[in-house]
Symmetry: C2
Subunit: 230 residues, 2 copies
């Protein structure tokens, strides 16, 4: 797993590191969905004070990776059909807007970089390396999101939504056979951005996300059917 993004390399506190560690453990399923997060337990396990754990849990809550009730405690979110639906609706809205803004604000250099990324992506699709396909897909979306140049939008997508999405993907084992078809959609989006056609870029991105959603929902359904433990 590549260290995703690091805008500025500020000093990092223990709480920061604990938060990142906990987030990873939740997303990757080391800490199971719907499981309880005991503060004392975690503080011994990660060898930090409860205050640090509490701060980390608070941040996880604002990422919507855990839910919290006063005087009761925090639980990792459950993976549900409805949750996935809601998640993708928000993603469609935000990332559609990101594509629209990217068509306006991306520099020519950034666009040509995006195009070359697409080329390398094409090659790896043909050779069939599933892992790198995932990474390539992420990279593609990140560049467009960053290209929007809207810090709020970027933060919402990168800091919270995408971790939740990844949690669904990882835990439902979605290495999707959809990658080859997605490639064409990526190509068209880049074309629209390159043409500075904001309207079209947004529409194509929203379509692309809708297709991805349908694919994910199918996977989730079959998961529920095969394993009744949900």
């Amino acid at each position: 797993m590549v260290p995703l993004i690091l805008l500025t390399d500020q000093p990092v506190t223990t709480a920061d590191k604990t938060f990142i560690q906990l987030r990873q453990d939740i997303v990757e399923g080391v800490i199971r969905p719907s499981s309880k997060l005991s503060e004392t337990e975690l503080s011994t396990k990660y060898a930090v004070s409860r205050a640090v754990i509490r701060e980390a849990i608070n941040r996880l809550e604002s990422c919507r990776l855990v839910e919290r009730k006063a005087n009761v405690g925090a639980r990792v979110v459950a993976l549900t059909q409805d949750g996935l639906e809601e998640l993708y609706q928000v993603r469609e809205a935000l990332e559609g807007m990101a594509a629209r803004l990217a068509a306006v604000h991306m520099t020519e250099t950034e666009i040509s970089d995006l195009k070359s990324l697409l080329s390398t992506h094409f090659e790896t699709v043909q050779s069939g390396e599933t892992y790198y396909q995932e990474a390539g897909d992420l990279d593609f979306h990140y560049r467009i999101i960053l290209g929007s140049k809207n810090t709020q939008l970027i933060s919402m997508l990168v800091d919270s939504l995408y971790h939740l999405i990844r949690m669904y993907r990882v835990q439902l084992g979605m290495a999707g056979p959809r990658v080859t078809t997605a490639f064409d959609e990526h190509r068209h989006i880049v074309q629209a951005i390159s043409n500075r056609d904001a309207e079209l870029a947004e529409m194509l991105m929203r379509r692309h996300i809708l297709y991805t959603k349908q694919n994910s929902q199918k996977t989730l359904l079959s998961h529920i059917n095969s394993q009744t433990r949900m």
Copy 2:
């Protein structure tokens, strides 16, 4: 000021109350934009421990009302042209989607309630009560947001974006002369929702927000021009 929304009346901790109090003081300008939030100072002022203040500040950060740097401290966000622009871009995306979903998910009862709200709103517009116009506008938007039935979307808009928007509105003294024209836009949106035309509802809502943005930006500009202290 009406107590906005209270989904479930769970037990409320000191940190909750302090968070809400601080948020109000920031939004209403009791604590000025760009000012520093000293933890010790606030803990004496609000008569709670620093731990409580820290938790409140953390939550304010996830609302994007304050910004934080490790080992340095937290500051209230600054009100800038760019910030307003970014804010409204996100709002357009999210609330457009909310309108789309509301057209699908609102019950007939909720829709007729919305229509009657529109009627009372029309009367107050004619009588010219500016304060209630504001409240009425908020109420209108809230109902549609809630009508989306998407908890993520609702939380993003109600718990963070709208407080930021209100901060801009309150502090720039926007009691806008735009209310009468906005009324027609509201009417058309309701009509689209009533017709279950999701596509149109989204489009009209996005337009409506775009107009509001342009109006806000004008106000902000004249503010900057009149008072150089920014």
